[in-house]
């Protein structure tokens, strides 16, 4: 933890991100191309779902990343409220729309899978409803952080929302175990062996890794932009505040 503390300083973070971003972006594009090819052309069809199983390669990693992104927002919220880290608020502003996009992809692809497989686009079972709530929590975070004239007040309100909403994460994860739902139980993250054959599981995990790269790349890039924006705003305010 102490080793990462140097990143809490926005100027140092900016130098760090400028060093890693080009390589990370290149790696992300390469990995995504390779993994999408694997998911759509190499991986076999499922014995029951046929080609529809390929929706999972986007759906499942999006669900994981949207939950990871929200855990990140909560961690940043805690570090803003408790330790007042100057970078936490900027990174939370950068990460929220990225996490919201992954949640939206998860909901949309799930809905498109549900129509042919279940026979419906949407049901109000515990898993689907708690996932929709996660999407709304993201939207609430985005709106709240931009709702005040002083950005610091918005940051703090949004941090509190992020921490309250973190209760939803275990509910999403365990909803399929605690209550009976239309959504199937966990196939990968369970105590015994995964219930997915290796020929489908391996592309799924690679897809998850490359989308994780995409997530990190987008959050770092957007954080950099937020740092620049905050600097420009401060410079403009100083110019206004110090007339001749």
């Amino acid at each position: 933890m102490a080793d990462l503390h140097f990143l809490a300083n926005p100027a140092r973070f900016r130098r760090f991100s400028q060093r890693v971003l080009p390589g990370l972006g290149f790696a992300t594009v390469l990995m995504l191309c390779a993994c999408l090819y694997m998911a759509f052309f190499v991986a076999p069809a499922d014995y029951q779902q046929g080609q529809t199983v390929r929706i999972m390669f986007l759906h499942v990693p999006s669900a994981w990343l949207s939950m990871m992104g929200y855990a990140l927002l909560a961690g940043l919220g805690a570090s803003l409220l408790v330790w007042r880290h100057p970078l936490a608020a900027l990174m939370a502003r950068a990460a929220a729309p990225v996490g919201a996009s992954f949640a939206a992809v998860c909901l949309l692809t799930g809905s498109l899978w549900g129509r042919p497989m279940w026979g419906t686009y949407w049901v109000w079972d515990a898993r689907l409803t708690s996932m929709l709530l996660l999407f709304f929590l993201y939207l609430g975070h985005i709106a709240l952080s931009r709702a005040y004239d002083e950005p610091e007040r918005g940051d703090r309100a949004a941090a509190i929302l992020a921490l309250i909403g973190v209760i939803n994460l275990p509910i999403i994860k365990f909803s399929v175990d605690w209550w009976n739902t239309l959504h199937q139980p966990a196939s990968v993250t369970r105590l015994d062996a995964p219930a997915i054959h290796n020929s489908i599981l391996v592309p799924l995990l690679w897809m998850a890794v490359s989308l994780l790269f995409l997530f990190v790349f987008l959050v770092l890039l957007r954080t950099e932009t937020e740092i620049d924006r905050r600097r420009l705003e401060n410079a403009a305010a100083q110019e206004e505040g110090a007339p001749a």
């Binding site: 076999p44 014995y47 079972d125 020929s199």
Partner: protein, 144 residues
């Protein structure tokens, strides 16, 4: 105690309280959070006719009868069974031995009249050759 410490404990305390509150609310609402009832649960609750609910379970092997648009089948949870009648389109995954969820109400004769039938997919994913090999080796759905 430094202000940082105080804020940290305040945060931990409020999150703990929130978690307990959420757990209490969810366990109180447990009955409304389940998406469907199994035939055993239906037999215990014995809902009257016209009370709409969702019935979930496996389609019993050999029980599906189609007469034109009308489908009759039996839903089982391996303890109790319940006869279902349904008029309309069935989802692609509907087949004997497959999990289904039917929404509707009990008719006067004790048969569940479904207005909508959804197929429930299980958590197993594999290519067709593997499924075939497992079936041939007699290891299909072992341990369940």
């Amino acid at each position: 105690m430094t202000p940082k410490r105080r804020r940290l404990w305040l945060l931990i305390g409020s999150l703990g309280t929130l978690a307990v509150a959420a757990a209490l609310v969810l366990s109180a609402l447990n009955d409304n959070l389940v998406f469907f009832y199994s035939p055993t649960q239906v037999a215990e609750k014995s809902p009257g006719p016209d009370r709409r609910f969702r019935l979930g379970g496996l389609v019993e092997a050999g029980s599906v009868q189609k007469e034109g648009q009308v489908v009759r089948f039996v839903v089982t949870d391996t303890h109790k069974t319940m006869a279902v009648v349904y008029r309309g389109m069935l989802p692609d995954l509907f087949r004997e031995g497959q999990g289904v969820i039917a929404e509707g109400a009990l008719g006067g004769d004790g048969v569940f009249v479904a207005r909508e039938v959804l197929a429930k997919h299980d958590e197993n994913y594999m290519p067709p050759e593997v499924a075939k090999a497992l079936k041939e080796a007699g290891r299909w759905k072992e341990g369940k």
